[in-house]
């Protein structure tokens, strides 16, 4: 790994997503699953994308890897991947989703860890088989060499007796071990970016703590950029350097993790933080709630998507115009009319 990457700060980010729009064209109408997401992922840092179901966080991940299922497709925006020092950056959004270029990047420079470690493996092959296949797909190595590397990887992610475990089938492993194998597989080709989509949601807390520690440890060693996607504010607080808060396909707020948790600007972020059950709460205490529920994607409200549930909405403004993501402090952005006036731009 080039030592320039370790300097971090002044470096251009490894991945930059600009105004990404991924829409699904269904018979019942267009679902704007992601509608203008922008963020960047620097080397050695962790970006957390947080939001509830339907906010577009997973579709964002799928869009980056270009594995959005039909009838969905990227309709606008760019996904710039900065490659080795001398190579030209590529715009993943422009690549052919089935072409060789993106296939080399998937599982190579960008790896993905899914939520459900049971269904993300093929039940017909041993875990070793599946990791060896990944390695040999991306790198020119022999079978024996790939197998040795697989054992090393399994050891690195903390699997006991890897030389035996390598020949086991996914069903023989516990959830925590399976997730470790998933991470080993993702790391098999030394990715620059690891996208972890709800990596610990299916796991128990003590296993979750192990996996989060493992991710941090590997990141410290490899300086890879991690994009962690979750609905769990606790995981975000533990892991992220920068946070993107999404709601119904739009980024409502972004900024450094401390700002998001201690100086949140957007009413949705504020309400979400208040409504999380806290381990510090008094027993049998009521929680502040957010009124209503997340609208069905086909009934997306006009104007700001959060306005029907927002306690601070301004009628005539929030229900008409769509707020843009604008700076609200030096490093923090929010899309809310409490902080800026609507553009004269037409309503989309």
């Amino acid at each position: 790994m080039a030592n320039r990457e370790i300097n971090g700060e002044g470096q251009p980010p490894v991945l930059t997503v600009n105004n990404l729009k991924t829409h699904f064209f269904t018979d019942e109408g267009t679902v704007k699953a992601v509608d203008g997401a922008s963020f960047s992922a620097p080397a050695g840092k962790t970006v957390g994308i947080v939001g509830e179901s339907g906010c577009g966080k997973s579709v964002t991940a799928l869009s980056i890897l270009r594995i959005v299922q039909k009838p969905g497709r990227i309709v606008d925006g760019e996904i710039i991947l900065r490659r080795a020092d001398d190579a030209e950056p590529v715009d993943l959004a422009k690549l052919d989703a089935e072409g060789g270029a993106i296939r080399a990047i998937r599982g190579g420079e960008i790896a993905l860890v899914f939520q459900e470690p049971m269904t993300s493996f093929s039940p017909h092959y041993t875990i070793g088989n599946q990791i060896v296949e990944t390695i040999r797909l991306h790198q020119d190595v022999g079978k024996a060499e790939a197998r040795n590397r697989t054992i090393e990887l399994l050891r690195m992610v903390g699997i006991p007796r890897p030389e035996r475990r390598i020949d086991e089938y996914p069903f023989e492993l516990s959830g925590g071990l399976r997730q470790r194998v998933m991470i080993a597989m993702a790391l098999s080709c030394n990715p620059k970016i690891l996208i972890a989509d709800e990596p610990t949601t299916a796991l128990d807390v003590t296993t979750q703590a192990q996996i989060l520690d493992l991710l941090r440890e590997i990141q410290a060693r490899t300086q890879m950029s991690v994009i962690i996607i979750t609905h769990d504010m606790g995981v975000i607080a533990e892991m992220a350097d920068d946070v993107i808060v999404m709601y119904l396909g739009r980024v409502v707020e972004s900024g450094p993790v401390d700002e998001i948790f201690h100086r949140a600007k957007h009413p949705y972020t504020q309400a979400l933080l208040r409504s999380i059950p806290s381990i510090f709460a008094a027993p049998r205490s009521k929680l502040p709630t957010i009124a209503g529920s997340i609208p069905h994607p086909h009934n997306r409200p006009a104007g700001c998507p959060f306005h029907p549930r927002c306690a601070e909405r301004m009628m005539g403004k929030c229900d008409v115009h769509i707020p843009r993501l604008r700076p609200v402090s030096r490093r923090q952005m929010a899309s809310c009319f409490l902080y800026h006036e609507p553009d004269e731009a037409p309503i989309t």
């Binding site: 128990d204 296993t207 979750q208 703590a209 607080a237 201690h262 059950p277 510090f280 929680l287 957010i290």
Partner: protein, 354 residues
Amino acid sequence: MTIRSNSGAPLLEVRNLQRFFPIRRGLLRRVVGQVRAVDDISFHIDRGETLSLVGESGCGKTTTARCILRALKPTAGEVLFQTGAGEVVDTASLPKAALTPYRHQMQMIFQDPFSSLNPRMTVFDIIAEPLLASGIKNRDQRRARVENLLERVRLRPEFMQRYPHAFSGGQRQRIGIARALALNPSLIVADEPVSALDVSVQAQILNLLLDLQDELGLTYLFVAHDLSVVKHISDRVAVMYVGKIVEIAETDQLFKAPKHPYTEALLSAVPKPDPRLRSERIVLQGEVADPAHPPAGCYFHPRCAHAIDRCRSETPPLEEVLPGHRVACHRARELSLKGVDAPPSPHPQQLRTL
């Protein structure tokens, strides 16, 4: 079959409950081992109280819940339930047919509101089904009761002719709660009732459960893995590990001053929703013991940082170390373990209320 009259008894008392699952192998399906899913546990729940069973997957919390409801027949032990008529019955030993009069007094709320409601039945049919089964033949009566139940769970009664797919996850969970309430149960067993819901909806359902308890005097057995959720809802908490209760205490006491190293590790592992509290966590090594081949002595000792020789050979009994605080650990009295207390600086946003 034990029937006694006892009005001062707790609503539910579980004594030495065991549930083993046989492991069968070979052509003759011979029993070669036992999975000790629930391994000799005892606890009680007072009327109007919420007891939470917490623990990681496979610890036996759901099996315990299912044994109490007699969805599973316990291998051994007593489940003493105080009926509406004031008698105490042992639902573990009663023959299945004899249970029918008591079934409606204990109801369940399920985890997944998507698969627990029949998609081909309207909301009315779903909620009225238990009414019909209990012999309310008059449709108008059922209708009035369903309307009342929907209002109780804060849903609009006009929606009763719709099908489950028209509702969001939170609304479906309310329908499930309304169905559970239909026959005026005294005990509600809620198995992970909010873990499938979005964060912003979890809070609504937790508040609803607290309100319903106050309004109807319900008693909850709450099964959950999320300690933050448990903190909000429970009067007392029982922590389970590999089929055994390792610690049981009042909620505040258990969270502030845990006495079992496993409880301490669990509390420490919960991600705290504040980046300023990123600190050294206790990360347990290894995995939960296999309930088919549990280790000798204390089941937790292979992962315990405080284990001594005695822990490797002798199973610790669940003993009272403080009033109402029982712990199964040889070293409970000498260890000083770390719990979770109020955060150092209160969360500025949590001080504001909506």
